[in-house]
């Protein structure tokens, strides 16, 4: 297929450094208002930089055009459907940016005294209470910076818990469906990874689990629903196998969006949970962060939580998330005024995993989300996410699609599901990658591809609750259309995309001869 070069394709990439010209500037420094002293007196010459770093020299109008131009070379969630499995690309409410930018939040120094940052600490405390209720676990730390950071915290908590009892274990179990972050985390925390198989049903192979569980196992890391989008029906038995040998059960919260208000990890027997606030609680993904990865734990793990921990005193009852100002105790003043603290006095704590108190700006957005939805709305979000996923799956089970892209495990799914492109590859000569690239020409973000690893030519599809039925229908129609097109001429998809700012890129060449900065 030949298509004329689009204007954006004609506009070749130039970096901001290539737009720089000596003498241009955007920044004007405030005037020196103290008596100037010779620099040599302030900083010995041998410590001073002689050649200024070659940063761009460019005026504001061109900075704006440069980055605006770059932005147009990105696809984004506010523009179109983004069913990237396991990433929960749900709508990012605009209110959240407004409240996060309030000066009392944005310009609050992290070392401001607790008595002068009570609003921030109250917000964090109330978020802790809400997250704990959602997970069904009593203690929450907001400290970790992202999901993988929460995982590291969780495995280090497990280590601290066992070692405190004089129990030195060596192994952590992860299912073969796990996110790559799980095994990578296990290695970083100094444990050996032991893989557990998957049964014909798409759940943990319980016999394999039993065979591999012994007193050297420190922990089982599990995602439930798992990365196949399936809820493990044997969760009760799995939990008891793990607990029988004294190991902890870790919940990877990447898929929490399926079960809010419906089923809670704590009630399933999990000891440690991490949340991805950038997934379930709609912190914008930012092109790859920021996120936040708070953790919730059971009583036996609590002493080891990272520090500092946000606590409260003076309340007759724990704060209820989402109360309004008029019914909050401090509005009336009086003897039962609640005071919030940063508690460092935690002798068994594993310590810090980062600076300060965590990604507070993310907490503001996620708490705004919880307040907006409320307990009822969170449950509705999960129900709708599961409804949307099952509906899209039903549409993709129709004739014209299902014979090429059958569902990997034919059950009701939760918030996401996995198709296999094996038949498509064999019968149409189209790999999953080709289908993904052809979707780009239709203005759609492809699903996650080639994950989970145990499904050949996998497509992991997560529509989320914020999409309309029309959008889901349109996606199913496009997939069917691409498959019809491929039946006539598979070459079209194999050479796709055609309309994107650049076409298929030479990734092997990039890795072979890495060029990772602009030559200056």
């Amino acid at each position: 297929m030949s298509i004329a070069e689009t204007p954006m394709q004609r506009d070749r990439a130039r970096t901001v450094f290539e737009k720089s010209l000596s003498g241009r500037r955007a920044f004007v420094a405030p005037a020196l208002d103290v008596d100037a002293r010779p620099l040599d007196e302030l900083l010995p010459a041998r410590m001073r930089r002689t050649e200024p770093p070659r940063l761009p020299e460019i005026a504001e109008p061109e900075i704006v055009r440069h980055f605006n131009g770059l932005s147009k070379r990105n696809f984004d969630l506010d523009t179109g459907f983004y069913p990237l499995g396991s990433c929960t690309m749900k709508h990012n409410p605009k209110l959240h940016e407004r409240v996060a930018a309030l000066p009392g939040n944005a310009r609050l120094h992290p070392l401001q005294a607790p008595e002068r940052s009570q609003g921030a600490l109250q917000l964090m405390y109330e978020l802790q209470v809400a997250l704990g209720e959602i997970a069904g676990l009593p203690h929450v730390s907001l400290h970790p910076s992202a999901g993988s950071h929460g995982e590291l915290a969780g495995v280090l908590l497990t280590r601290a818990y066992h070692e405190d009892r004089g129990d030195h274990r060596t192994k952590v179990l992860t299912p073969d469906t796990a996110h790559g972050t799980n095994p990578a985390t296990v290695t970083m925390a100094g444990y050996e990874v032991v893989k557990v198989g998957t049964n014909a049903d798409g759940g943990v192979d319980v016999d394999d689990l039993r065979a591999k569980t012994d007193d050297q196992v420190a922990c089982l890391m599990l995602t439930n629903p798992n990365t196949l989008g399936l809820f493990d029906r044997n969760i009760g038995e799995i939990a008891s196998i793990v607990h029988e040998v004294g190991a902890t059960l870790y919940y990877d919260g990447a898929n929490l969006n399926a079960v809010m208000g419906i089923s809670r990890p704590g009630d399933m027997g999990f000891d440690i949970v991490h949340y991805n606030l950038h997934k379930t609680f709609t912190q914008p993904h930012g092109g790859g962060g920021p996120g936040a990865g708070p953790i919730a734990v059971s009583d036996r793990i609590e002493p080891y939580l990272p520090r500092p921990q946000v606590t409260s005193s003076g309340a007759l009852a724990p704060a209820k998330p989402g109360r309004t100002k008029s019914d909050s105790p401090e509005a009336s003043g009086g003897a039962d005024q609640v005071i919030y603290h940063l508690d460092y006095d935690r002798p068994k704590s594993i310590g810090r995993l980062r600076g300060f108190q965590g990604n507070y700006g993310v907490f503001v957005r996620s708490y705004a989300y919880i307040l907006s939805l409320g307990g009822d709305g969170l449950r509705e979000a999960s129900e709708t996410a599961v409804l949307n996923a099952n509906y899209l799956l039903a549409r993709l089970k129709e004739k014209g699609v299902a014979e090429y892209l059958p569902v990997a495990y034919d059950r009701l799914c939760m918030h996401e599901f996995v198709l296999s492109g094996t038949a498509m590859k064999k019968d149409l000569g189209l790999r999953t990658l080709d289908l993904a690239k052809r979707l780009l020409d239709f203005g759609l973000h492809p699903p996650t591809v080639y994950f989970p690893l145990l499904v050949d030519e996998a497509l992991l599809i997560e529509p989320t609750e914020t999409e309309t039925k029309e959008t889901l229908d349109a996606f199913a129609d496009v997939v069917a259309e691409i498959l019809r097109e491929a039946a006539d001429d598979p070459g079209i998809a194999r050479d796709a995309p055609y309309t994107t700012p650049v076409r298929r890129l030479d990734e092997a060449g990039a890795a072979k001869r890495p060029v990772i900065r602009q030559a200056l």
Binding site: T15, F17, F27, V34, L42, M47, R49, P52, L55, E57, I58, I63, K72, F75, T79, L84, V99, G104, R107, L108, L111, Q112, E133, G147, S148, L152, G180, A184, T187, A189, G190, V193, M260, S263, H285, G286, G287, G288, G289, G351, R354, G355, G361, V362, A368, L371, G374, L378, E380, L387, N388, Y391, K469, V502, R503, D506, G509, R517, Q518, L520
Partner: protein
């Protein structure tokens, strides 16, 4: 129907019919009754947007921000001016709402931003390779420790007492996991004691960690320390404040192996401590052991210049338990703010702002040292921050100052009991001479009052 979902009753009926079940409830049949929540979540019902805004605005109003007082608080995060173009560009949905650029053909904007960011960080640090960001400063130090350990398999870390206390603690927390020991090198006259370092160094040291400038604001003599640190093949890691690198020699000039740091000072707001970003730059030899995303230049099938995530065989989603790090989501949007800020500041601006900080800090330092009952903790060169010791209880002095609308700095004794009444004072381009003069008068009065026992 909540305001962020669109499924109507009609939709639901049609969708359930297509699925072949009778109710939404039936979709959850796989969840055993024993693990179902049999009551509503104990979280208040949802509220309209204007009420959520009002509630959160009232909470924010209970915080005293740098908008409300003249603040000299620093100690790792600094109140610099964030230019309007940063907010304007980072709030564009094309940057705010996509995820990691797994599909490069529709993510060239984000990938090119990473490439430009990597270039800017390389240029600032004087090191040839940079990744596309890590979480933040202290965890970047821990990531450097893990990489050093992967590189030379050794098990001791030597850490300057001048490294940020949060970074030292973070390194210790993570090192306990992978089985390395952290030992501290003391300070002498405000900087890392070279003799103590010499004494501690041996061939089982995996890495030596220094800060530039250090926590007390002092500029370390990297020229003298680097050869000592590197005598036995340990990696030298320097945690730097990037906004001082317009006036300070680049760490790369001293044979440093890894330079990391907190990127907040580059166009990111304070946000009570996060999100910001951490940077991670290194010598070429470590390219394939680096943590995190890296953007690389390449071409498309028609020969157009383009960018992709590269060297992904280091990463968790490919290499799993053999990955060089578990990091996945990092801080792309904050790193974007960083590269916009550096473009705005420009080649001249980063020197101008550095020299302005040098001059104002020198002015403030000598003015404070002139106060009765205030002494310098050290006389080393400083760029933007310095430490003084008060002859009065520091917490009470701070309290008196804040009542007068001035936050004089950070109580050093929190982390350094040896300076029980120490105060760490930070400057930015936002603190004018008038602000400094006010600090001098307010702090002077507070110290005097405490020394003579006047009631607050």
């Amino acid at each position: 129907m909540s305001r962020y979902t669109s499924v109507t009753d009609d939709d639901r009926e049609q969708m359930l019919a297509a699925i072949g079940v009778s109710s939404v409830e039936a979709l959850f049949a796989d969840i055993p009754a024993a693990v179902r929540l049999d009551r509503p979540l104990d979280i208040a019902p949802g509220k309209p947007e204007q009420e959520v805004y009002g509630y959160l605005r009232d909470l924010a109003a209970r915080n005293v921000s740098t908008e409300d007082e003249v603040s000299f608080l620093g100690a790792g995060m600094y109140d610099h001016y964030v230019p309007s173009i940063v907010d304007s560009i980072t709030s564009r949905s094309e940057f705010l709402t996509p995820y990691t650029p797994y599909q490069p053909e529709i993510s060239q904007g984000g990938l090119q931003v990473m490439f430009e960011y990597q270039t800017a960080i390389s240029e600032l640090t004087g090191l040839p390779v940079s990744n596309a960001s890590v979480y933040e400063g202290p965890s970047a130090v821990a990531a450097a420790g893990y990489m050093a350990r992967l590189q030379n398999k050794r098990s001791r870390f030597l850490v300057s007492r001048g490294l940020h206390p949060h970074a030292r603690e973070t390194l210790e927390t993570t090192a306990r996991g992978f089985g390395a020991k952290v030992e501290e090198i003391p300070l002498l006259d405000g900087v890392t004691d070279p003799d103590a370092l010499q004494e501690a160094i041996s061939d089982d040291v995996a890495a030596v960690f220094l800060a530039q400038p250090n926590f007390l604001g002092a500029v370390e003599d990297l020229e003298a320390l680097a050869p000592v640190a590197k005598t036995t093949g340990a990696l030298l890691v320097v945690a730097a404040d990037p906004l001082t690198l317009g006036v300070l020699r680049a760490p790369g000039e001293f044979d440093v192996d890894i330079c990391v740091g907190e990127g907040q000072t580059l166009g990111n707001r304070l946000d009570f401590g996060g999100p910001s970003f951490g940077f991670f730059a290194a010598q070429e030899a470590y390219l394939r052991k680096m943590p995190g995303r890296i953007s690389g230049e390449t071409t498309d099938v028609d020969g157009r210049r383009g960018f992709v995530l590269t060297l992904q065989t280091r990463e968790q989603h490919i290499r799993r338990e053999k990955a060089t790090s578990n990091i996945c989501t990092a801080q792309a949007l904050n790193a974007l703010a960083g590269v916009i800020y550096l473009s705005w500041l420009g080649r001249r601006g980063i020197v101008d702002i550095g020299e302005l900080m040098l001059q104002r800090t020198a002015y403030a330092r000598s003015a404070l040292a002139g106060i009765e009952g205030v002494e310098l903790v050290h006389e080393q060169p400083v760029v933007r921050e310095f430490a003084v010791a008060l002859d009065a209880p520091v917490s009470k002095v701070i309290e008196r100052c804040t009542v007068a609308g001035v936050n004089p700095g950070y109580a050093l004794g929190t982390d350094y009991p040896e300076w029980e009444n120490g105060l760490l004072v930070a400057l930015t381009e936002q603190r004018t001479r008038a602000d400094i003069d006010r600090l001098v008068s307010v702090l002077g009065a507070a110290v005097a009052a405490e020394r003579t026992g006047v009631a607050a």
